[in-house]
Symmetry: C2
Subunit: 354 residues, 2 copies
């Protein structure tokens, strides 16, 4: 099938500068504008376009409409040993996530393990960003967020569960192993991209309007009946991640985020756990232990001889290196929207909330 | 299809006393015999027969053959703040798990969050047991174990990943919400039970000898090509859980456990995390917050009107109450083996290692 997407290439510097300029014009401080612009650009460099360049217009929409408070900073609600509760005060998700990650690492340095529960924050875009950062600093990092209800429980028709992404990471060589997974088999963003290319997904990912499992992304986008990864397992994990993020932070649950609203997702609850492995007596042996595991994993015999079995984060690193060398592929229509926001000809009114 | 399994009913007291007698005769101390007998019985009461009564003969085999050291106790290797490393010294998995859970709760009481990494332990039988206990004491509890390699990575033919069960739990009313999930879509034990009833699984759970996905448990048991839950998602999560349990405990990885051995699984690595929510300022509001989430979740519209959407642990509680009232259903041939072990006519030589 022929792709109907025209793609251009944008250099990382050009993208970051464009995002920074837009954010500055919107009233972001210089420091915060660079911080947010850098995270959106890094996500694009890493190939997570759905939560990088493609998502930037929607982020701006949320800022403009006041769902994201551009200069809000987190405030400490409660501290007890290695555990802290912070209120994100509806600030930008990426800024709050950087703050919460740093706080969890600070606690881990002091207590071995640190946990930050963050309420009233916004979409962090991509958990992997904070996980790569923490892992490259030498920490084990586990974090998750809740979301608006976007997935039916296994066996149900109506969406009452979030797809609540979970990230787990640790240092590996000079880089990291980073698992960044939502609890739906595929994200809406990925299905939109595949639908745009008129392709189907390699496995079933949701239900069509007849209630049948399908791998056709257009049919699933029409019903919004996403399939939980592993059926009841993804459902259960999503439910527990939501409950824990809400009750440990004293913040909103998926139910609270969803009720009475129409598709606008804000006021999320998140958990950040860091473990400082430099404090471990076996610290110097960890690198070799992980390498043994990965070496064995890499020897997996693929069922399709042309496919290599890769560990979580391995292909991200390949994409990162390619995009740093060659520039970031961007859909021309997406970049046109962003340039329109930059030059003021696009007033964001046509940008959808979802 | 007709079931070819004949079932009897055994009272919880009778089962616990029988297990205790066998363990005492095997040389377990009175205290440890009661502890292990109680856990195997509780798992059976909760309906997890595969890791309760059905598994008891294999546990005895591992004890008799010296893989499980009946009187070993864990020793502290390293402590730093809320993080401790313990060596399980190859003791019984259930005894080590009770010790590690209690240690994580002790750390959580002091530091808000506590983490125990346990090396050189053995199969804990059922994570849910320790999770119910911790949650009913008021803790959030997260734990996982690695296993011998028993699952191919998604896209691979040969098993180089464990199915590494993960448990997450928290208090709910006077009981608990407990998610207890392995990273394979189904466990080998469950597939054996379904195969014995000549039934098929409701979803695909592995590959047949032609390399096709199938829901026929006999075909999957023949190839041992289990399907990771959520394909690459279950694979990635299993890999990260293995790496973290091995490196944080300084213990063996799935690769280490598997290499050079033939199907005998011992020397596992596990992680136990507890969070003491009684230390939270929003503690008194947590019960109502969880109830709101569960009430909404329960309102999910089922695609099959005869099915109710249940939260993790909800059906366990129903089974527990039924088995406490009516006795525990046990396959007659399993109970015959156990009675044979008790009266000494079964010398365990015919009990398989897997």
């Amino acid at each position: 099938m022929e792709s109907n997407v025209s793609t251009i290439t944008v250099s990382p510097d050009e993208m970051r500068e464009c995002f920074t300029a837009i954010l500055r014009k919107e009233g972001f401080s210089a420091e915060r504008a660079v911080q947010c612009a850098t995270i959106f650009t890094e996500n694009s460099i890493d190939g997570v376009y759905t939560h990088g360049v493609n998502r930037f217009p929607r982020f701006m929409k949320y800022v403009r409409d006041g769902f994201v408070k551009k200069e809000a900073v987190p405030t400490l609600k409660h501290a007890f040993g290695g555990m802290e509760q912070w209120d994100g005060n509806m600030g930008p998700g990426p800024s709050n996530a950087v703050h919460a990650s740093a706080s969890a690492m600070r606690l881990a340095e002091k207590y071995g393990i640190g946990c930050v529960a963050l309420s009233n924050t916004n979409h962090w875009m991509r958990a992997g960003n904070y996980a790569w950062t923490a892992a490259k600093k030498g920490f084990v990092f586990i974090a998750w967020t809740n979301t608006i209800a976007n997935m039916p429980a296994w066996g149900a028709i109506d969406a009452r569960v979030g797809n609540n992404p979970l990230v787990m990471a640790l240092p590996y060589k000079d880089e990291a192993i980073v698992l960044d997974m939502a609890m739906s088999q595929y994200s809406l963003g990925h299905m939109e991209q595949v639908a745009m290319r008129n392709e189907v997904l390699p496995v079933n990912a949701g239900f069509d309007k007849e209630g049948k499992l399908t791998n056709d992304p257009s049919a699933i986008l029409a019903t919004r009946r996403l399939l939980p990864a592993g059926y009841w397992k993804g459902t259960g994990l999503a439910l527990l991640l939501d409950i824990l993020s809400a009750v440990l932070s004293g913040g909103l649950s998926t139910y609270d985020i969803t009720k009475g609203k129409t598709k606008v997702e804000y006021g999320l609850s998140q958990i950040y756990i860091a473990i400082d492995i430099s404090k471990f007596p076996n610290h110097s042996a960890i690198g070799a232990a992980v390498e043994n595991i990965i070496n064995d994993y890499h020897q997996s015999v693929p069922s399709d001889a042309s496919q290599k079995i890769t560990y979580p984060g391995e292909r991200v690193l390949q994409t990162r290196n390619r995009n740093l060398a060659n520039g970031i592929p961007v859909q021309k229509k997406v970049w046109d929207i962003i340039k329109g926001i930059e030059d003021g000809t696009n007033d964001l009114s046509a940008i959808p909330y979802t």
